[in-house]
C-alpha cells in the first residue's frame, strides 16, 4: 500500500515545511466537502494536511473598520461571535443558516471558499462587501475568486489565511435552498455600504454571484420597491430564476425595516 500521510501543522511555518516536501498535498479544513470525497475515492491523495490547528488561521477581530475572520473559523463560531454580531450581524445571520447544525459546527469559511465557493452562501455577501482574501502568497478580492474557474482559483500550496469585509450599514439575505443538496439554489443579498451605495447580489446555483447594477442604480435614485423597473435587470436569467430572484429581493428589501 502506498504510504498515506497525515499532517496537522500548528503554524504556517510548519505547514510550509511540509509543503516544501509534499507540494501536491491535499488540504482539509472542516472536512464537510473533502472527507466524503476521500472516502468515496472521488479524490485521491497521498498526503493530507489538516489546517484546523494552524494558529494564524484562527481568530475573529475588528480592525481598521473591517471584520477579519480566520479561514479556519467555523460557521458556528462566526454566527455566535460577539464581534461579528456587533459589527456585521448579517454575516452572523447568514452563517447561522448554512447547511445544518452539524455542518455548521465543523464546516469553515475557508473550507467553503476553498471547495465550492460559488455554492457558498457567503459568495454574494463577500462580493458585495468588498471582501479581501489574505493567502500565504497574496491578497486578493473575494469577488475574483468566484469568477475564476476551479483549476485556477488557488495556486498549488496556497493557503487561505483570513477574510476581511467592509461593514455594511445594514444587509439582508434571503435564499431558497436546493431541495436535495441544501446549498442555496437561488439567493439574494442586499445591503448599503458605508458611503450609502446599494449592493444587490443575485446568487444562482453554481454561478458566480452577480451584481444587479440596474436595480442598485434605481434604488440609489430613490425608486420605491413597487416602482422598480426590472425589465432589463435579469435578462440573462431563466424566467423562473428571475421570478425567484425578484421575490427574494422583495423579501429582503421589505426585511430591511428597522435596520435602517
Amino acid at each position: 500500500m502506498s504510504s498515506l500521510q497525515f499532517s496537522r501543522p500548528e503554524s504556517l511555518d510548519d505547514a510550509r515545511v511540509i509543503l516544501s516536501r509534499k507540494p501536491d498535498a491535499t488540504f482539509v479544513a472542516g472536512g464537510q466537502w473533502l472527507v466524503p470525497k476521500l472516502k468515496s475515492g472521488e479524490i485521491q491523495s497521498k498526503q493530507i494536511v489538516s489546517l484546523d490547528q494552524i494558529s494564524e488561521l484562527r481568530g475573529i477581530s475588528f480592525e481598521a473598520g473591517r471584520v477579519h475572520i480566520g479561514a479556519s473559523e467555523t460557521h458556528r463560531t462566526i454566527s455566535t461571535s460577539p464581534i461579528v454580531q456587533e459589527h456585521a450581524p448579517i454575516l452572523a445571520e447568514i452563517a447561522a443558516q448554512i447547511g445544518d447544525p452539524a455542518t455548521r459546527n465543523r464546516g469553515t469559511i475557508g473550507g467553503a471558499l476553498g471547495s465550492e465557493p460559488r455554492r457558498s452562501d457567503y459568495s454574494g455577501p463577500l462580493s458585495a462587501l468588498d471582501a479581501s482574501l489574505v493567502t500565504t502568497t497574496r491578497t486578493r478580492a473575494a469577488s475574483e475568486l468566484f469568477t475564476t474557474e476551479r483549476s485556477a482559483r488557488f495556486q498549488p500550496g496556497e493557503i487561505l489565511i483570513n477574510i476581511s469585509i467592509a461593514l455594511p450599514t445594514w444587509g439582508r439575505f434571503e435564499k431558497i435552498p436546493h431541495t436535495a443538496a441544501n446549498y442555496a439554489d437561488v439567493a439574494v443579498f442586499i445591503c448599503q455600504t458605508a458611503d450609502g451605495a446599494w449592493r444587490v447580489m443575485a446568487m444562482l446555483h453554481d454561478h458566480a454571484p452577480q451584481r444587479i447594477v440596474n436595480i442598485e442604480d434605481q434604488l440609489l435614485a430613490g425608486t420605491q420597491q413597487d416602482a422598480l423597473d426590472w425589465s432589463n435587470a435579469l435578462a440573462t436569467l431563466s424566467p423562473f430564476d428571475a421570478s425567484r430572484i425578484r421575490t427574494l429581493f422583495n423579501r429582503a428589501h421589505e426585511g430591511r425595516t428597522g435596520l435602517i
Partner: protein
C-alpha cells in the same frame, strides 16, 4: 506540530464516552470507521458517506458532527460521545424516553443520529419552537416516521413532559398504545444491523460496475486490481459460469394476451456477455479491507462495444434488444378484464374522460444500505448468509437453488435488524449471492456493504408507468367503464416480483371504491437500460389509485360538478357487500361513505372556499384534493396467488413455545424492519394468555430458529402472520385444557380458558396457566396419552385478501412567485379493521403519507435519455422529504370488521403511500387549475402559474 511518518498508519488518542484509547489509524480513515471497526461501537451508523443523511452524527468536543466528515486524525485528543454514551446503563434519558413515548422511531437506523442532533438542538436552544426543531433536524434523514413524531418527541423532551403516573403499561393487550419493546436497543445504539456483524477471518467485497447503459463485453482488465496489496481475488462472470452458478429469475409468471409466457429477464450474478444498465456488477474484488476492495474495484476496467440503449418505457423498442427472446424489448403484453365491453361502453358513453399519466420512478432509499455476509464452511458443507432481507426464508430457498453447492437444509439465513425496507429488501439480489459463492471460493467469510451510490444504482426502483386511461360515464354520471393502457418499465432485468407488480397487483385494484361496471387493463411490460423495477411501498396499488383518482377528479372538472359528489355517486355502498368487482377481487366489507364523511368533516371541507379566498388575498393559490382508495392486503390466499402465476404459497407461520418457567417465546416467519412486530405480536399473545409483556419475546429473521415463513411485505404481517400466532395460541390452550382436565379430574368440555386460568365452567375450581406449563414440563401428574411440553406451531393461509380503505384529504397553498407548495393540512381517515397498537398504526400511516408526499412533490429517479446515465444517484441530486417538510397530518380510523383472519386486522403499512399522492396532486390541480405530472416541483408549479397569470393579480 504533529507530522506522521511514512508508515501507512499512526496513532491517535481518542476519549470515547469517557474512556481514553490509543488507536492506530490510516491518514484517510474517517471517524465512523474508527468508532465502528476499532472501538467496536456500532451505534454510529452509516447511511450515505456524503454528510447528507446524518445517521453517523456524534458529539465531538461537545458539538454535533457527522462522523463521515471527520478524519480520525483530526479527532486526536478529542472528547467523543456516541449514542452508546448517552444513557446511564439501560435507563433511557429524558430525550430517549420521549422518542420512545412518541413512537419517534421505527426501523431505528436514523435514530442514533437523530438523537444526537436533537441533543445538539436542545443544548443550543432549550426551548425550541417547532420551526427551530425542524431546522435543527434537517440534516438527518428519516425514511420511516415522516418526522412528525420525532418533532413531537423533541418538544416533549424540551418541556420535560413526564408520562402520567400509572400510565406505564397497565394494559398491554390488543388495542393498547404500548410503547415498543424494540425501542430501547435502537435508542441506545444497540441495534444489530448486518454491517455491524463481524465474523472472524472475514474479507471484504466490492463490485466493479458498468459505466455504460448497454454494451457487449469485450474483455475485463483486472491486472491493476490484482496488483494492489491486500487484494485476495478478482472474480468475473466467467468464474460464475465455471462454477455453474444459476441466474436469478422472477418468481411469478405472467402470460401475454396471446397465451405466451413472459420473455427474457434472467439476471446473472455477474454480467458476462453484456451489461444492461449503468451500475450492473461485472466483477467482484475480495480484499483484506473494505477500502482496498473498493479501490481495487475502481481499478478494474471494462472493455466493451456499446449498443443502442433506451431508458424510457414508451420508447422500449428503440434500443437494440436486451434479451434475444424478447422482441421490441417486450417482456409481456398482458390483458385483463373485458376489453370489448369497455370499448363498447366508451363508444356509448354520455361523457368520456381520457388522460395520459406518468407515474414517476422512485428510488426507495431505505436508510440502511443493503449488505451481506456469506460464510461457507467446506468441512460440513454448510453455510450462513446474513442478507438485508425482508423475507429470509424465501432468500434461503432461492439462493440455495441458484448456488447449487449448498442445500436449503444446510443454508442458514439470518436477516438481523433492518434499517428500513419499503419493498426494496424483499428481493434476491446478485450481491448477496455473490458473497456466499465467493466465500466458498476463498474459504473465508465475505462481507459487502453497499455505498449510497450503489443503493441508488442497483436497489430495485419503484413505479415508472406511462399510461393512457379512459373513464366512461353515463348521463347520471355513473362510471360505466374504465380502460387502462399502461407501459410498465421493468428495468434491465426481471427482479423477484417484477412481473406481478404492474399486472395483478395493479389491474385487480382498478375498481377502487367505485361501482365501475366494466374494466379493462392492458399492460405492456418492457425492458429498458435502467435499474430493475419492483415492488415499492404499495406496489401496484399506488399506481392504480393515482390513475383512478386523477381520472375521477378530471371527469368532475370536465363536467363542472363537485369531485366529492361524483365520487359519492359511484361509491360501493355498505349494502353491496360482499361486492364482486369486475377485476376478480371480491371485497368482503367496508363503509367508504363513513370515512369519506369523517375525512371531509375533519378537513373542514365545507368551509374551504373561505380559506381559498383568504389565501388569494395573501397572493397564494389554495386548493383542496380528495382521494379514496381500497387496497388489497393480507397477501395472500395461496390458491389465488397460484392461479395468478405465483411459484409460491403466501401463508405465514408461527411457533409458540412456553419455557418451563412459564415464559413465552414467539417465533414468526415474518420479519420486522420498523413495523414493531416484537411489540404487536407480543400484545396479541399477552391478551390471549394474560401474560405481562416482559414475559414474552418475539423472534424473527433466523431461518434456523423460526418456522419456514414468507416474510414481510404487502401489509401482511399482522393479518397473516398474526393470525398464525393466534392459531398456535389456540392449540396451546387446547392442550392446556386437557392437562387441566386431568389435574382437576374433570372432562375437558367442563373447562374454559380465561384471564390466564383454566377454569371449571360455572364453578370455582381452576388451574393457573403457570401451573399448567409446569405440569407440561414436569409431567408427574399428567394424562397418559398426552405428550409432555407446551409448544405449538401453526400456519395460516387466508381465504381472501383484506380490503383496507380510506379517504385522504389534502389542502395546499402555492406561491406563484416561487412555485413552492405548502401542505397546509392533510387528513387521513382509514379503516384498518382491528387496531392492535394505535401508536404503531398512526406511525405507519404518518410515514407512508410522507413517502407519498415525496412522490407527489419531490422524488423522481431520472436517467438521461441521451447518455443512459442516472442523473439522480446521490442525496445531492435525489430529493427526499426532510424535517423541513411540514406535512400537517391528522389521522383517524373508522371501523368495519374483518372476518377473513382471526386477528380481524386489514393492514396499514402501505395506505399512506397509496392515498397521499393523488390527494396531494388533486389539491394542486385544484389550486392551479392545471394538472401537473408528479413530482410537482417548484419549477413545474411556477410554469403552471405563468399560464394562469392573467387570472392573478400582479405578484
Amino acid at each position: 506540530m504533529s507530522e506522521h511518518g511514512s508508515s501507512s498508519s499512526s496513532s491517535v488518542t481518542l476519549t470515547v464516552n469517557g474512556v481514553q484509547r490509543q488507536i492506530s489509524s490510516a491518514a484517510v480513515t474517517a471517524l465512523f470507521d474508527t468508532l465502528r471497526d476499532e472501538v467496536r461501537l456500532t451505534g454510529t451508523l452509516v447511511g450515505c458517506l456524503s454528510a447528507r443523511c446524518g445517521a453517523c452524527t456524534i458529539e465531538l468536543d461537545g458539538q454535533s458532527a457527522k462522523a463521515c466528515t471527520v478524519l480520525t486524525h483530526q479527532a486526536d485528543e478529542a472528547e467523543i460521545k456516541t449514542i452508546e454514551g448517552v444513557s446511564e446503563g439501560d435507563v433511557l434519558d429524558t430525550l430517549q424516553a420521549a422518542f420512545r413515548r412518541n413512537h419517534a422511531l421505527q426501523c431505528g437506523y436514523c435514530t442514533p443520529g437523530m438523537v444526537m442532533s436533537a441533543r445538539e438542538l436542545l443544548r443550543q436552544n432549550p426551548d425550541p419552537s417547532e420551526t427551530d426543531i425542524r431546522e435543527g433536524l434537517k440534516g438527518n434523514l428519516c425514511r420511516c416516521t415522516g418526522y412528525e413524531n420525532i418533532i413531537r418527541a423533541v418538544k416533549d423532551a424540551a418541556e420535560a413532559i413526564q408520562p402520567p403516573a400509572g400510565a406505564a403499561a397497565s394494559d398491554t393487550g390488543i388495542g393498547a398504545p404500548v410503547e415498543r419493546v424494540e425501542d430501547k436497543r435502537f435508542l441506545t445504539g444497540h441495534g444489530r444491523y448486518c454491517a455491524d456483524i463481524q465474523l472472524p477471518g472475514q474479507c471484504f467485497a466490492a463490485f466493479a460496475r458498468a459505466p455504460v447503459p448497454h454494451a457487449e463485453i469485450a474483455g475485463i482488465d483486472t491486472s491493476n486490481a490484482l496488483k494492489m496489496p491486500g487484494v485476495i481475488s478478482v472474480l468475473t462472470g466467467e468464474d460464475v459460469a465455471a462454477d455453474q452458478i444459476g441466474e436469478l429469475r422472477c418468481g411469478w409468471t405472467v402470460y401475454s394476451r396471446d397465451g405466451d409466457a413472459m420473455k427474457g429477464g434472467a439476471r446473472p450474478i455477474l454480467a458476462r456477455e453484456k451489461v444492461r444498465f449503468v451500475g450492473e456488477a461485472f466483477a467482484m474484488v475480495l480484499a483484506e479491507s473494505e477500502a482496498t476492495a473498493r479501490a481495487a474495484a475502481r481499478a478494474i476496467s471494462l472493455q466493451y462495444q456499446t449498443v443502442p440503449h433506451n431508458v424510457l418505457p414508451e420508447q422500449a423498442g428503440s434500443a437494440s434488444h436486451l434479451f434475444a427472446d424478447a422482441p421490441e424489448n417486450t417482456c409481456f403484453d398482458w390483458l385483463f378484464g373485458d376489453e370489448f365491453g369497455a370499448n363498447r361502453a366508451i363508444e356509448n358513453a354520455a361523457h368520456v374522460t381520457r388522460k395520459d399519466l406518468r407515474n414517476n420512478r422512485l428510488i426507495p432509499n431505505a436508510l440502511e444500505p443493503r449488505a451481506a455476509i456469506g460464510d461457507y464452511t467446506p468441512a460440513s458443507g454448510t453455510a450462513t448468509l446474513y442478507p438485508t432481507s425482508q423475507n429470509p426464508h424465501m432468500a434461503r430457498k432461492i439462493i440455495a437453488e441458484t448456488m447449487g453447492f449448498v442445500g436449503e437444509h444446510n443454508l442458514r439465513v439470518i436477516s438481523p435488524d433492518l434499517g428500513g425496507g419499503f419493498g426494496s429488501k424483499i428481493f434476491i439480489y446478485p450481491e448477496e449471492c455473490a458473497c456466499l459463492w465467493a466465500s466458498r471460493r476463498v474459504g473465508r467469510p465475505v462481507k459487502w456493504v453497499a455505498t449510497r451510490e450503489e443503493s441508488f444504482l442497483c436497489d430495485a426502483h419503484g413505479r415508472d408507468h406511462v399510461s393512457t386511461a379512459t373513464l366512461a360515464l353515463d348521463e347520471d354520471h355513473r362510471f360505466t367503464a374504465l380502460k387502462v393502457e399502461t407501459v410498465a418499465n421493468l428495468g434491465a432485468y426481471l427482479s423477484s416480483f417484477a412481473a406481478f407488480v404492474p399486472t395483478y397487483l395493479y389491474g385487480t385494484r382498478l375498481a377502487g371504491p367505485y361501482k365501475t361496471e366494466t374494466i379493462a387493463c392492458a399492460v405492456r411490460g418492457v425492458f429498458t437500460n435502467t435499474a430493475p423495477v419492483d415492488a415499492y411501498r404499495g406496489a401496484g396499488r399506488p399506481e392504480a389509485t393515482y390513475l383512478i383518482e386523477t381520472l375521477v377528479d378530471a371527469a368532475a372538472r370536465e363536467l363542472a360538478i363537485d369531485p366529492v359528489e361524483l365520487r359519492r355517486r359511484n361509491l360501493i355502498q355498505p349494502s353491496d357487500f360482499p361486492y364482486q368487482t369486475p377485476v376478480a377481487l371480491e371485497y368482503d366489507i367496508g363503509d367508504y361513505e363513513a370515512h369519506l364523511q369523517r375525512g371531509l368533516e375533519l378537513a373542514d371541507h365545507a368551509n374551504f372556499e373561505t380559506r381559498r379566498k383568504a389565501a388569494a388575498a395573501r397572493g397564494k393559490l389554495r386548493g383542496i384534493g380528495t382521494s379514496l382508495y381500497v387496497e388489497a392486503c393480507g397477501i395472500a390466499p395461496s390458491a389465488v396467488a397460484g392461479a395468478l402465476g405465483a411459484d409460491v404459497g403466501l401463508w405465514e407461520s408461527a411457533l409458540l413455545r412456553f419455557t418451563p418457567s412459564g415464559r413465552l417465546q414467539v417465533f414468526t416467519g415474518s420479519h420486522s424492519h420498523g413495523q414493531g412486530h416484537e411489540t404487536t405480536f407480543a400484545q396479541l399473545v399477552s391478551s390471549h394468555f394474560s401474560l405481562p409483556l416482559e414475559h414474552i419475546s418475539v423472534f424473527h429473521g433466523d431461518t434456523d430458529q423460526t418456522p419456514v415463513g414468507m416474510g414481510t411485505y404487502g401489509s401482511r404481517s399482522l393479518a397473516v402472520g398474526g393470525s398464525a400466532i393466534l392459531k398456535a395460541a389456540d392449540k396451546i390452550v387446547e392442550k392446556g385444557i386437557l392437562i387441566a382436565a386431568h389435574i382437576l379430574d374433570l372432562a375437558p368440555d367442563e373447562i374454559r380458558f380465561e384471564d390466564g386460568e383454566f377454569r371449571q365452567t360455572g364453578r370455582n375450581a381452576f388451574v393457573s396457566l403457570k401451573d399448567i406449563v409446569h405440569a407440561a414440563y414436569v409431567p408427574h401428574n399428567y394424562p397418559e396419552d398426552l405428550e409432555p411440553g407446551l409448544e405449538a406451531s401453526a400456519f395460516f393461509d387466508p381465504l381472501n385478501f383484506t380490503y383496507p380503505s380510506g379517504t385522504h384529504v389534502c389542502e395546499v397553498e402555492s406561491d406563484p412567485r416561487t412555485g413552492h407548495i405548502d401542505i397546509v393540512a392533510f387528513t387521513a381517515v382509514d379503516d384498518f379493521g382491528k387496531v392492535v397498537n394505535p401508536l404503531i398504526v398512526e406511525g405507519q400511516v404518518q410515514g407512508g403519507i410522507v413517502q407519498g408526499m415525496g412522490q407527489a412533490l419531490m422524488e423522481e429517479g431520472v436517467y438521461d435519455p441521451e447518455t443512459g446515465q442516472p442523473v439522480t444517484s446521490s442525496y445531492q441530486t435525489y430529493t427526499l422529504p426532510r424535517a423541513s417538510l411540514r406535512a400537517n397530518v391528522q389521522t383517524e380510523t373508522t371501523y368495519t370488521p374483518c372476518d377473513n383472519n382471526p386477528v380481524g386486522s386489514k393492514g396499514c403499512g402501505e395506505s399512506g403511500a397509496i392515498g397521499a399522492p393523488p390527494a396531494v396532486m388533486n389539491a394542486i390541480t385544484d389550486a392551479l387549475g392545471v394538472r401537473l405530472e408528479m413530482p410537482a416541483t417548484p419549477e413545474k408549479v411556477w410554469q403552471a402559474c405563468q399560464q394562469i397569470r392573467g387570472a392573478l393579480e400582479d405578484v
